[in-house]
């Protein structure tokens, strides 16, 4: 298990290096540079700024310097936001995205497993048909539609009953998080429901379920002890990438609900060619994704002994 974990971490580091290199090259391949947006620049000022940020050096040298700083955990200073360190931007805004993402993935996982198990239990009956219809809806409709609809619904509810059930936008309390995280988790929930359903239906026909019945176990015990745990394995597998996707992909939802998450900076930086912020956020997101996948692999080992012990 230790060797396995070590191997996974090592390959994760290589992945992060690859992400950093690819982003660096892609970013420099885009025409223009971050200093072009500066107002009232004479060639002298531009040159001075370029020297200050090290942009006058050859690309290869910039790459080496950049990689060196990155290894020490320093992503540099933002080009467009005066004297703001990239590390500070991540530190200030990632926790917001992370909190939203964790709540969203919790909704998605619990909902997905519950609905999936339910549809399998009522296969081809009314509850199954209704839930599977909603699942198709959840998978095909993009999150910004749900975000807008959710907001609209919330405003109407608040107006009709003249109450403040939940805040419509903004950030600060747990109540602010509920609707955005539901909206954010909806697609994943639909995906997991489908996965869980097919997984449950596969397990029902396994020989060991027949053995469990021949042992005289109650249907509920067979369901929870023998069926659910084995059916959950494929769900856990996709959970890792999904956590990362939700946490980092909440840009639209963050925008609609006016949440100060990291997503906004990520997109803005690309528009403004803010080299250091692009690199910082991309590498950080990449590392986060890699970390989540490794974490899920390790958790998988605990659920499935065949992975742990082989």
């Amino acid at each position: 298990m230790l060797k396995y974990t070590f191997g996974r971490i090592l390959s994760g580091l290589v992945t992060i290096w690859f992400i950093a290199t690819a982003t660096f090259l892609a970013m420099h391949a885009v025409p223009g540079d971050p200093l072009m947006n500066e107002k009232a620049t004479t060639p002298e000022i531009r040159e001075n700024l370029a020297r200050k940020y090290g942009l006058d050096k050859p690309i290869a040298e910039q790459y080496v310097i950049y990689l060196g700083n990155m290894v020490q955990g320093d992503f540099g200073i933002s080009f467009t936001q005066q004297n703001r360190k990239v590390n500070d931007i991540i530190q200030d805004h990632f926790p917001v995205s992370a909190a939203l993402g964790i709540l969203a993935i919790t909704f998605a996982a619990l909902g997905g497993i519950l609905w999936g198990a339910l549809t399998a239990l009522y296969r081809n009956q009314l509850p199954d048909i209704i839930i599977m219809f909603l699942v198709i809806l959840g998978i095909s409709v993009p999150s910004f539609v749900f975000a807008a609809l959710g907001q609209l619904l919330l405003v109407n509810i608040n107006q009709w009953f003249n109450i403040s059930l939940l805040p419509v936008a903004g950030w600060g309390t747990f109540a602010h998080m509920i609707v955005p995280s539901l909206v954010l988790g909806l697609g994943t929930m639909a995906l997991l429901t489908r996965l869980m359903r097919s997984s449950m239906l596969e397990i029902v026909n396994e020989d060991f379920i027949r053995t469990a019945r021949a042992k005289g176990l109650s249907p509920s015990r067979i369901f929870f002890q023998h069926q659910l745990r084995n059916a959950i394995l494929p769900v856990v597998t996709v959970l890792g990438p999904q956590i990362a996707a939700i946490t980092t992909g909440g840009f639209v939802v963050e925008l609609v609900f006016a949440i100060p998450g990291l997503g906004r900076y990520f997109v803005q930086a690309v528009q403004q060619l803010d080299y250091t912020v692009i690199m910082g956020t991309t590498v950080f997101y990449g590392a986060f994704l890699v970390f989540m996948v490794i974490l899920v692999d390790i958790i998988y080992g605990f659920i499935d002994p065949r992975v742990r012990l082989k």
């Binding site: 060991f208 027949r210 053995t211 019945r213 021949a214 042992k215 109650s218 023998h226 745990r229």
Partner: protein
């Protein structure tokens, strides 16, 4: 045992509804098992032998499966078609069961010990510690070395033979009076097969437990059973003691099975003789004898009317479902004809 047989099955009929139509998998099966008896049910694939015992246990998938008639009485009490809660009073407790493929018949994410202990906890209300102690004893009884260590291992860490031993240990947990072994050695290689059969015989003779052994292997039958039911196309075509079946085969199908069996005695001129044709379509079973189309001795009546079970006048437990056993039937070479012998011999 009193007046009741341990298990008495009569007129059991089971159907499966499929897209192609209704499959009549079991068509009126009668047999009984005494305490301590080893009964073998033999027949080729698809003859309904597994469906028969799985219906008794109530573990055929329903739907598509459906028990359309008959009864199964365990110590006099009806057990056929019970709801899960009522059925669990005997499943795993009075009747234990082991299956064909031990590799897939155990839960891959639970330790062997936990799976054996589960039965004990559910049926006997034992604590985890007590259950584990008994589980360890069971592994020792089924000859699994290093039982204590093995308890905490998972199925994938066991070999096929060891898994079948663990399955047996699990099914013995509540000291059942009947063990149903559904092709217990089919997935195992020959040496392991012999070991498992020896183990079953040993447990049976020591604990006085009855066994129903489902198999398609006549060698396994000869080695293990006292009594035999030969099944064909969803019906029992011949039943009797092992000696009856092997030395006084009274049904052409039993005879055919024997001729198709390889022998380890070197006989240069002896050829294996396969039974020509294939079993009848159980979507629409023939109105006559199911074997008539393949039978070398078939008569006109065989195609028209399904024969009843004719029993040996001198040994009534030996019976065959064949018109050749009817009084006045023509004499057939190689076939033990009970009524002819009975009437001529007297």
């Amino acid at each position: 045992m009193g007046t009741h047989k341990l298990l008495e099955v009569s007129n059991l009929s089971v159907e499966f509804e499929t897209y192609g139509g209704v499959v009549k998998a079991v068509r009126g099966v009668d047999f009984s098992v005494d305490a301590g008896e080893v009964l073998a049910i033999v027949g080729e694939s698809g003859c309904g032998k597994s469906v028969t015992v799985q219906s008794i246990m109530g573990i055929i998938p329903m739907p598509p499966g459906k028990i359309t008639g008959g009864s199964a009485k365990l110590k006099g009490g009806e057990i056929l078609g019970l709801q899960a809660q009522a059925a669990n009073q005997f499943r795993g407790k009075e009747i234990g069961m082991i299956f064909q493929d031990p590799m897939t018949s155990l839960n891959p994410t639970m330790t062997i010990g936990a799976q054996i202990a589960e039965t004990l906890k559910v049926h006997r209300g034992l604590s985890t510690q007590q259950a584990n102690e008994i589980a360890s004893e069971l592994l020792i009884r089924t000859r699994i070395p290093e039982a204590q260590k093995r308890l905490n291992q998972y199925p994938f860490e066991f070999s096929g033979g060891m898994l079948q031993r663990a399955m047996i240990a699990q099914s013995l947990a509540c000291s059942p009076s009947l063990l149903i072994a559904d092709e217990p050695t089919t997935a195992l290689d020959v040496t392991i097969q012999a070991q498992i059969l020896d183990l079953l015989k040993e447990l049976q003779s020591r604990d006085g437990m009855a066994i129903i052994l489902i198999t398609h292997d006549l060698a396994v039958v000869a080695r293990t059973a006292q009594n035999v039911c030969v099944m064909y196309a969803g019906q029992i075509v011949e039943q009797g003691s092992v000696d009856d079946i092997f030395y006084k085969s009274a049904h052409p199908y039993t005879l055919g099975l024997k001729l198709a069996m390889p022998s380890n005695v070197s006989q240069q001129n002896k050829k294996l003789e396969p039974i020509p044709g294939s079993p009848p379509d159980l979507f629409s079973p023939p109105s006559g004898c199911g074997y008539a189309a393949r039978c070398p001795h078939a008569m006109r009546i065989c195609h028209k009317e399904n024969p009843p079970l004719f029993s040996d006048a001198r040994a009534p437990h030996h019976a065959a479902r064949c018109w050749l056993q009817a009084p006045g039937a023509p004499k057939t070479q190689g076939l033990y004809q009970t009524n002819l012998i009975a009437s001529h011999g007297a």
